[in-house]
């Protein structure tokens, strides 16, 4: 298909030279949910050389409202998202090398993939993985693009190692909000908006138009018609442990990672997040009830049950997920409810 990129090469900041650069680049997308499937589709249509997409979940009915690569058939077959994404992406553009990985994006996996990656597009649903991406990106000097959305709002920020502040400069810790797409809902247009910003930045980075890269932190609400840009010129922290003068990449250290273990003989997985500021149990109980969970509890813990999901959550963020021995599945439920 000789002229399939003609409308893109006609755009002067890309041109034929830019298209040739795009064709030689490898993009890594972490997550194949709403942002991951959308970002992967735009990148595949744009003609990147290679695209790697990592996800640990399978396609569920509640994904179809906003996750653009998937169909009812994928739900019926309970296909892993990464596999379903690969199938559709190949039908869209057979010239792109698609690598799909079904599994948890651990720091080990990220480090293995980092070797020949030109760009990472964040499409994950939790800050622990984002902090690991942030450290890997600094360690291996890979640009990455933060993006997230909940309800009708979303945000994005482009991180270029050696130039911009990093996510650890901004957050300093792993925030647990308890507000996720599973507790606060999400609408398609907010997803599309984040994808628009992430993929615009991705194309600029792939064609190496560094002058065009957005330096501000974008933040919007599609229902309230808000759109703001926060300038970041003073956000870089010289003492930052991820991007500062003496980096230690703390989120690649075992003690800063969530521990996930099967409790022997109990068909239960224990999830222990690293030092958090604690969970507001009353607030979480309210959110879980709104989702239809049956919730009991006391000031120290809450227990919640809905269909196959049964778990106990402690004030320090630790949780016991009952009825499973599957670590990835347990962690997935945890992140979907707690962020």
């Amino acid at each position: 298909m000789s002229n399939r990129y003609s409308r893109q090469t006609l755009f002067p900041p890309i041109g034929k030279m830019g298209q040739e650069k795009i064709r030689t680049k490898h993009v890594l997308i972490i997550g194949a949910g709403a942002l991951g499937s959308g970002n992967a589709e735009v990148m595949t249509r744009a003609g990147v050389g290679k695209l790697t997409i990592v996800d640990r979940d399978y396609v569920e009915a509640s994904n179809l409202q906003r996750q653009q690569l998937y169909t009812e058939e994928d739900v019926a077959e309970k296909l892993p998202k990464a596999a379903a994404a690969e199938k559709r992406l190949k039908a869209i553009n057979s010239e792109v090398e698609i690598q799909s990985i079904i599994g948890d994006a651990t720091p080990e996996m990220l480090a293995e993939l980092a070797g020949d990656v030109d760009l990472i597009i964040d499409s994950t649903d939790n800050f622990e993985t984002r902090m690991a991406i942030n450290d890997i990106a600094q360690k291996y000097q890979i640009p990455w693009i933060y993006g997230a959305c909940v309800a009708s709002f979303g945000m994005s920020f482009t991180i270029i190692p050696g130039k911009t502040p990093c996510l650890n400069c901004l957050l300093k810790t792993v925030p647990i909000q308890g507000l996720t797409c599973d507790t606060g809902g999400i609408i398609g247009p907010a997803v599309q908006m984040v994808i628009a910003h992430q993929t615009a930045e991705a194309l600029k980075i792939l064609v190496e138009d560094w002058e065009a890269v957005r330096t501000s932190f974008v933040n919007f609400d599609m229902w309230r018609n808000q759109y703001t840009s926060m300038k970041m010129s003073r956000a870089k922290d010289p003492g930052c442990l991820s991007c500062g003068e003496h980096p230690e990449y703390p989120y690649l250290e075992a003690e800063n990672m969530t521990k996930t273990t099967v409790l022997c003989g109990r068909d239960t997985v224990q999830i222990r997040p690293p030092h958090t500021e604690g969970v507001d149990l009353k607030d979480m109980a309210g959110k879980l009830k709104a989702l239809g969970y049956e919730v009991k509890g006391n000031p120290y813990l809450l227990s919640a049950e809905l269909e196959d999901n049964r778990f106990v959550l402690f004030q320090d963020g630790r949780a016991l997920i009952h009825g499973t021995k599957d670590l990835a599945q347990a962690k997935s439920l945890y992140n979907r409810l707690l962020g």
Partner: protein, 77 residues
């Protein structure tokens, strides 16, 4: 006097798009504590802060007339 803007779910929790508070001379961290107390908002410590549309660290001191925006990071994807 200072205008304080709330973004994302903070706006729902506070029930207002913005409020007026007299916080000149206080640090960003102190403003967060005052707002959390006065408007019963949980988890404000992890919100990002912009002063006059520019990112500001927790130690930054507010000037009279500064517009302060509180932006909670969002994790969904």
């Amino acid at each position: 006097m200072n205008k304080i803007l709330f973004f994302a779910h903070l706006r729902d929790e506070v029930g207002e798009e913005s409020v007026q508070l007299e916080v000149a001379g206080k640090t960003v961290a102190e403003v967060k504590a005052i707002v959390a107390e006065q408007y019963k908002v949980a988890k404000l410590d992890t919100a990002m802060t912009a002063i006059n549309e520019e990112f500001a660290p927790n130690e930054e001191v507010i000037q009279d007339g500064d517009v302060i925006a509180l932006i909670p990071p969002v994790s969904g994807g």
